[in-house]
Amino acid sequence: MSGRFFAKGADRRIAITIFILLAAAIIVPLLNLAVAPASAFYIPSYIVALTGKYLCYALLALALDLVWGYCGILSLGHGAFFALGGYAMGMYLMRQIGSRGVYGNPVLPDFMVFLNYKELPWFWYGFDHFWFAGLMVLAVPGLLAFIFGWFAFRSRVTGVYLSIITQAMTYALLLAFFRNDMGFGGNNGLTDFKDILGFNVQADATRSSLFAASAVTLALAVFVTWAIVGSKYGKLLMAVRDAESRTRFLGWRAENVKLFAFTVSAVMAGIAGALYVPQVGIINPGEFEPSNSIEVVIWAAVGGRGTIVGPIVGALLVNAGKSWFTGVLPEFWLFALGGLFVAVTLFLPKGIVGMWDSWRGNARALRAASLAEKAGTDPEVAQPKVVRAAARTPGEWLSSGPEPQPAE
């Protein structure tokens, strides 16, 4: 595997990405903490927090890419896993406030005092320990995804039906978390955090460390995804994406393949949420909003689904655009986002990275062809080497081509 890791082409791209992320994890905190604010190289703290937030989004987009790009499951509910991870972390941070809250209750968070809770609900037990909260960050989204996927994939709910019920799932959770008597702070959510692991959340050093943690985690996730996709299991994943029935006829249990990818992806989304919450300082039910989950899809689509690097690029670009637009032309942002959805699906079906690949591939093939012609030999057309196995061309398995198909 290490041989492949340092290979050329697409694998080299993965290596470069990981290298950039790790470098950023060291350099950005250094430039924030060690350089004087007057210096040209100084990175202000708010930029650190902002990019840290983007990296969490990138991790979420990567998680979605694993299921959508490589397994063909368009989940419109990944925001739910993200938010659940965030809530688990938020609960830990709430417990760390201790008696420094407005009401000064050493055990109950402020909102519980406000809502007349007498004691801590049972599901808040253990969240005063970081290791427990960390476990829950992985377990809760993973378990939900496992149960949900186990039901859905076993009864062969596929395609748009799956998309719609994942959307219903996050919508149901949105409604549930808005309720005050759920014990998660109702529509205000969890906020006003003070400490994480004993360090002040607001401090520059903590922010830089969180940024570094996000970057390292993202690098790790890129490696894990790349390892999954490159393994034999990854081939199976793509087989299910391209022709589920054929894979099943060949004797593979397609539902188990999908279930594994879905669960891993949900855990990754949960981690992204857990890293996100201390950096933005709040988690509220708005994160369950179905529109948030759909926005994640567009990040992955812009960057190029099924390319690992693409979703990261997409998430960073779209969010940077969002920050810029909402600052300069707030009215215009939804037009831009909506237009992006339309433009990407129509003109950039493979996303930025995918387009780059096919452009490079074409250029290389043309060059090879012209060289071969000069030499007078048979042109041996070099196939563009991409880590992304070509997604199914639209209508490839249909006799009738790109035309409306009634959803049976």
């Binding site: 368009l74 567009i298 689509a301 037009f335 699906t345 209508g395 249909l398 790109p402």
Partner: protein, 538 residues
């Protein structure tokens, strides 16, 4: 001589009657004058009783004025007068004839004070008085008041009123009021038992509350009878409650049906996931708003027709937008449902923001025409007109759509293209044209749904957002590609939702429904009324 005696007698008689009526009015004036000297509420109350005891309909004016705190004593001559405040001064009127009696500054008169106890006394007295009114509606209202405030003293006036009453409905209510009064009196037990039976037959919540108060302090036999009657009424009421829930459910179902039916065409027949469907509904609602604005400023007389005018316009506006979306975007994405989903989501964002930029982010006010406001009762059910009209409207849209699909050449072409596109094309059907028109039809129907929903929901740029998930649930639950499935799906989801609400609360009920649908899809991935086919993927 005889003649003279006759004339004299007649004159005397005439004089007598005149003086008698004069005397009656004079007596009344005498009693009213006592208000000027009455000290404290209890003495005023005694005067009220005295006035009411005359049974003269003339006393209604001073008593009503007293209850409203508009009865004054003029300090100069201690005359009791009805007053009406006009700015700093008070216009005065005669308490019996209502003739104007000049003006007075506030300092020159004293208001006769009343408290709540006194007001109740006055209301009861007026209730007794109005039992003799000419208008049956007034008598009915009086009987209703007396039923709610039973008093043993009411029995006798009620008896006379019952004897004189000719209108059956008023008579029935009078008897119930009498029964209620009997229950609080010290009449014999047999009378009370009969009264309980009479009230039990009434069978509504007022009867229950009355009987419950009786039950608390009564003899054993009466208590037993009251308990039995309450139990009886409660079981009837439970039945009506179920009826009420079903009605609410049907009403919600009709809203869902309206929102989902357009989707049933675009998603069900064409297989296009239109996430901008909710925005078509919103466009319809905003069309209604614009139409009403134009009518308000230019043709105020036409306001009752505004919805009728808005319907075709909303259909055209939303249909046209749908047509443009299909030709501009969706036709390039056929066979790629997930991409269609994303592209139409983008369209929905653009439409929302466009509406927000034009009309602003706040809710717009859309008025109800007169024939859609108000409500009426069936038994214990209160049914509002707008809900009823929306139900009727949803069903008629459904019927028209079914007719179009099954009985018109266009519908035939649509179904042919759905069933076998190439064969249909070979037969000379312009399939791209059919696609575009089908999508426009689905969008247009969403637009007219918006007209209806503007009557019961807030018209804001987010209007569509709130319906999109519910609509998808209905279509998926009912079975895609089947209009009947959508009908059944909408109404069953509506009714289940409303039955869960009393137990689980509105939000939790909705969550339960969502979870149930998610589980249901596991069981039947293609909905209630799935089309049967041989496809492997099915």
């Amino acid at each position: 001589m005889k003649l003279f005696r006759m004339i004299g007698l007649a004159l005397l008689f005439l004089l007598a009657t005149l003086s008698l009526s004069r005397a009656g009015e004079a007596d009344l004036r005498g009693i009213i004058a006592k208000f000027a000297t009455a000290k404290g509420f209890s003495e005023t109350g005694a005067v009220v009783h005295e006035l009411a005891a005359t049974g003269d309909p003339l006393v209604e004016r001073p008593l009503a004025a007293l209850a409203d705190g508009a009865l004054y004593v003029r300090k100069a001559d201690s005359l009791v007068l009805v007053g009406k405040e006009v700015g700093e001064s008070v216009q005065l009127f005669d308490p019996l004839s209502g003739e104007a009696a000049g003006e007075a500054a506030k300092d020159d008169i004293t208001k006769i004070k009343v408290n709540n106890t006194l007001r109740r006394v006055i209301r009861d007295a007026l209730g007794t008085l109005t039992l003799g009114a000419k208008d049956p509606a007034v008598r009915l209202a009086a009987a209703g008041t007396m039923f709610k405030t039973p008093d043993a003293a009411n029995i006798e006036p009620l008896d006379t009123a019952i004897a004189n009453e000719t209108v059956p409905s008023v008579k029935a209510l009078l008897e119930q009021a009498r029964a209620a009064s009997v229950l609080v009196s010290d009449r014999p037990e047999a009378d009370k038992l009969a009264a309980i039976q009479l009230i039990g037959a009434r069978g509504d919540r007022d009867a229950v509350s009355l009987l419950t108060s009786v039950e608390a302090n009564a003899s054993d036999a009466v208590k037993q009878a009251a308990t039995a009657a309450i139990a009886n009424i409660n079981s009837t009421l439970a039945f009506w409650d179920a009826g009420q829930n079903i009605w609410y459910g049907i009403s919600l179902g009709s809203v869902l049906l309206l929102a989902a039916i357009g989707l049933a065409i675009t998603f069900g027949v064409m297989g296009v996931i239109n996430m901008a469907h909710g925005e078509m509904v919103m466009l319809g609602a905003y069309t209604t708003f614009v139409v009403q604005q134009v009518i308000r400023t230019s043709f105020p007389g036409l306001f009752d027709w505004s919805l009728v005018i808005a319907l075709p316009l909303a259909f055209l506006v939303a249909g046209f937008v749908g047509f443009v979306i299909e030709r501009g975007i969706i036709r390039f994405l056929y066979g790629r449902p997930l991409e269609t989903l994303l592209a139409t989501w983008g369209v929905s964002l653009v439409l929302q923001q466009a509406v927000r930029s034009i009309f602003g982010p706040t809710n717009q006010e859309v008025g109800n025409p007169s024939w859609m406001s108000g409500s009426f009762d069936i038994g214990q059910l209160a049914i509002t007109w707008n809900r009823l009209w929306i139900l009727v409207f949803a069903l008629s849209v459904f019927a028209v759509l079914l007719y179009v699909m099954k009985r018109t050449p266009w519908g035939l072409q649509m179904r042919a293209v759905t069933a076998n596109r190439r064969m249909a094309a070979s037969m000379g059907i312009k399939t791209p044209w059919v696609d575009a028109l089908t999508f426009a039809l689905g969008s247009g129907i969403a637009g007219i749904a918006g007209v209806a929903l503007s009557q019961i929901d807030n018209v804001s740029p987010n209007l569509g957002r709130s319906y999109i998930i519910d609509s998808f649930m209905v279509v998926v639950f009912g079975g895609v590609g089947n209009l009947w499935g959508t009908l059944v799906g909408a109404f069953s989801l509506g009714i289940v939702n409303k039955f869960l609400e009393p137990y689980a609360g509105a939000v939790l009920g909705k969550i339960v429904v969502l979870v149930l649908i998610i589980l249901f899809i596991q069981k039947r991935p293609r909905g209630l009324f799935a089309l049967k086919g041989r496809a492997v993927e099915a």
